[in-house]
């Protein structure tokens, strides 16, 4: 399958070929972003309903009774429906938003242009990976319409709750099987995607684009795809074993002698901890798959708006590689109290604390980059700065969970919810927002409205702190997570705090309408965008907005400079990467 034949042929003509079944990495990137947009709206609405229920459990949600007559008869949400919403919220956000948007979406669009190539190494596989992801999303959404409703075993789907089947409770029948099948399909899609990213970065770099000159976002996508390759290669067999346990009567994860719904299960000999090991071996690298593209995007954007090269680019890349390597040695910190051998707790605690060093270094490099800069504050740079602040808040709360001693108290409480929402739910989202405001002109040839962008930043930045910082306090007070109602006596004094969080969450959710409105309006009627609105230096800014079908109009660039040559004296304080010597 010679590569050249696929891309040099004349651009496709028919609407279908150009916009739907296109092999152009830019179209595929936009399709991933549109899927992530639909997914994030769904996930956010689910979180609204959940938060509203936690604040006011007995008040019916208007209209919900009709949409979900079994789950929320008369609008009052039942415990199993709350857990089903939680499971779908978690699964949609982690897989279909935080893995597709920053990694597959922006990565697909910009990695080839960043390295000066016409397209991905395997365009047809690239198109297949999107459509397989879409199938996975539709299979997951089907769980809403199945008899017993969506599964309720959380996005982590611990066995035997997830493996036994209908007996384990509502949602654990067809809903859980659809979940497992959807995630297995998603794994295949991500493996194909990562294959493409790695092959393209290794082989299709244009003349002069050595690894040292790779833009930082591309470094992040490349390293993320290596992590994703290994992580999803482990989740795929885990899902296959789970599906077999559920459907074919095997007992990989189900021990003997379980009595569920007064029925003695026929399974025997399986190990529930085996699922946790396989899942978290994938799970922790997955959180780095969600955040490393954000690192790359912030390191790509900060120099542009600081008008100053990134501090210690080689150190930054070395830290990315260190994080990638260490991410496979830390999964046990999710299982300190899971019945795993307590000796291994220390074994997993040390690498978990060590991995904070590269993360701390990168954060300091960002702050160091702002030192002595001429900072321009646009929506993109504000979100990049917001990313730094929010990542600090979320990262530091990880210290408590990394040590077994303090994890004894904080495991399974809202402290954990605050930690991973700050780092993944907010920091990664800020990365996506920053990337959108930064690259929208290049992707659509139109400028986004800066005022709306700034309003969106300020309200979201304050909103997310009001939502997730108090969750740390709930965790310290011992508020257990994944509760659909707070009936325990020691939780009653915390209900006002939950109501505050709910109001803040609904407010922050509503603020996102500014972003969606800005997206739609700018896409239709935004002012035309020049080729290089931000005066940046990487290759995508040396081609037209939006780039032509083969990115560089037939003559691939020859790279002569590094990715962030800013701060030169004189009128033009930057040197484009492909500028002749």
């Amino acid at each position: 399958m010679t590569h050249s034949a696929a891309t040099v042929q004349s651009p496709p003509q028919s609407f279908l070929r150009r916009h739907v079944f296109s092999v152009d990495h830019k179209v595929i990137g936009r399709q991933y972003l549109d899927l992530a947009l639909v997914a994030v709206v769904t996930g956010m609405v689910l979180s609204w309903i959940m938060r509203f229920h936690l604040g006011w459990p007995d008040t019916p949600v208007p209209g919900l009774g009709k949409i979900a007559p079994t789950g929320a008869a008369g609008g009052v949400i039942t415990p199993e429906y709350y857990l089903a919403l939680m499971t779908m919220h978690g699964t949609i956000m982690v897989f279909f938003v935080l893995t597709t948007a920053p990694f597959a979406g922006f990565g697909n669009f910009f990695l080839p242009i960043h390295i000066g190539a016409e397209d991905m190494a395997f365009p047809r596989i690239n198109m297949t990976s999107f459509w397989v992801t879409l199938v996975a999303f539709l299979v997951l959404m089907a769980a809403f319409f199945v008899g017993d409703g969506p599964p309720l075993s959380g996005w982590t789907a611990y066995a035997p709750l997830s493996a036994v089947g209908k007996d384990a409770g509502p949602g654990q029948g067809a809903g859980q099987t659809l979940w497992a099948v959807s995630i297995a399909i998603f794994c295949v899609a991500q493996l194909l995607g990562s294959l493409n990213f790695i092959a393209t970065t290794l082989d299709l770099r244009t003349r002069g684009m050595s690894l040292a000159r790779l833009p930082f976002a591309t470094w992040a996508w490349f390293i993320t795809s290596v992590i994703a390759l290994i992580a999803f290669a482990v989740l795929l067999p885990a899902c296959i074993l789970l599906i077999l346990d559920r459907v074919a009567g095997t007992s990989f994860f189900i021990p003997a002698g379980l009595v569920i719904s007064d029925r003695l299960q026929e399974h025997a000999g399986g190990s529930p901890l085996l699922w946790q090991h396989l899942f978290w071996f994938f799970g922790h690298p997955e959180v780095y798959i969600a955040i490393l593209p954000g690192f790359g995007i912030v390191s790509q954007i900060l120099p542009v708006f600081a008008r100053k090269p990134l501090l210690g680019p080689r150190v930054f890349v070395a830290c990315l590689i260190a994080i990638a390597f260490l991410s496979y040695t830390v999964w046990g910190h999710h299982m300190f109290l899971s019945g795993m051998n307590p000796l291994s707790a220390t074994l997993f605690s040390v690498p978990t604390l060590v991995i904070t060093i590269p993360a701390a270094i990168i954060t300091l490099l960002w702050i160091g980059t702002i030192y002595g800069s001429r900072l321009r504050l646009t929506a993109a740079s504000l979100f990049a700065l917001g990313f730094v602040s929010v990542f600090v808040s979320g990262g530091l709360s990880g210290f408590f969970l990394a040590q077994p001693a303090t994890d004894i108290y904080l495991h399974g409480t809202y402290f954990v919810v605050a930690h991973f929402h700050f780092v993944m739910g907010v920091a990664a989202m800020f990365g996506i927002f920053a990337a959108t405001y930064f690259w929208f002109p290049k992707m659509f040839g139109r400028m986004m409205n800066e005022t709306l962008g700034k309003w969106h930043f300020w309200l979201t930045f304050i909103g997310v702190y009001c939502v997730f910082m108090p969750m740390h306090y709930l965790g310290l007070a011992g508020n257990v997570r994944r509760y659909s109602a707070f009936t325990d006596d020691y939780l009653q004094p915390l209900i006002p705090l939950h109501r505050f969080i709910t109001i803040a969450a609904l407010f922050t959710g509503a603020v996102q309408l500014i972003f969606f409105f800005n997206l739609v309006r700018s896409r239709l009627r935004g002012p035309a965008a020049p080729a290089n609105p931000w005066e940046a230096t990487t290759l995508e800014w040396s081609t037209s907005s939006p780039p032509p079908h083969d990115n560089f109009g037939g003559h691939p660039p020859v790279v002569t400079h590094g990715p962030d040559e800013f701060g030169a004296a004189g009128v033009r304080d930057y040197v484009m990467q492909a500028e002749p010597q």
């Binding site: 079994t70 008869a73 008369g74 039942t78 415990p79 509502p170 719904s261």
Partner: protein
């Protein structure tokens, strides 16, 4: 029983002001009797509802388990006595069977109903319950009923003895007894039952108890007479 009575009255009204008893008085026999047990009873256990204080406060005296309730003279309560064979055409009743959850207990402990008869489950507790009928023949379902939620209304299509449990309060146990016949009666603490309005014929009467098993016997009704049928079930301590 009310439905049958109203049907009878309607019949009389429809047949026009014919004075006096209808032309041919419907011959209706009755089978009644008492259900007792032999053997040693299991220990009477008090239910520990410590986990749900809102239910503990609803009971002044400690609540005992209802799976082996007996009365004076070795009588057995909650025995479902019904016509298992020999029934001529069952007019399906349409009035709703009410099943209450009060004080973290199912009231009545055993709810008997006919196939396709509407059933309504009410939650009158300040806490949320979840109703999980462990049906095998009928489709199984498992629904939560938060405090103040509307009653869950359903019907059962197949005759079956369905144990019902509340997952949130494991001590809560009851039975939905779905029968194909309208002729059934549940014994009270006196252990006595009576099946009325039986046309002449030979019937198999079955007495079922959740823990002490099932007994059947043949009874023949000639005219409008009352036949007695007593049952003795065997009780085992464990």
């Amino acid at each position: 029983m009310i439905a049958r009575f109203t049907a009878l009255v309607a019949l009389v009204a429809v047949s026009g002001g014919v004075a006096g008893p209808p032309h041919r008085a419907a011959i209706a026999g009755t089978i009644s009797g008492k259900v007792t047990y032999t053997g040693t009873l299991p220990k009477i256990r008090t239910i520990d509802m410590a986990k749900e204080p809102s239910c503990v406060t609803q009971h002044s005296t400690p609540v005992t388990s209802e799976d082996a309730v007996t009365g004076p003279g070795n009588s057995v309560r909650y025995v479902v006595v019904y016509i298992s064979a020999g029934d001529q055409g069952a007019a399906a009743s349409t009035d709703t069977v009410r099943y209450d959850q009060k004080g973290c207990l199912y009231i009545p402990h055993v709810a008997v109903m006919q196939v396709h008869q509407p059933l309504a489950v009410f939650n009158n507790d300040p806490t949320s319950h979840n109703i999980h009928p462990l049906a095998r023949v009928n489709p199984e379902w498992n629904k939560s009923q938060p405090k103040g939620a509307p009653p869950i209304r359903t019907t059962w299509d197949q005759p079956e003895f369905i144990p019902v449990k509340c997952n949130v309060h494991p001590w809560m146990h009851g039975y939905f007894v779905v029968l194909a016949t309208p002729n059934f009666s549940v014994t009270d603490s006196s252990g006595s039952f009576s099946l009325t309005g039986l046309a002449p014929g030979t019937y198999t009467v079955t007495a079922w108890h959740e823990r002490f098993g099932t007994r059947s016997q043949e009874v023949t009704i000639a005219g409008s007479e009352t036949k007695t049928a007593n049952f003795v079930l065997t009780a085992r301590p464990y």
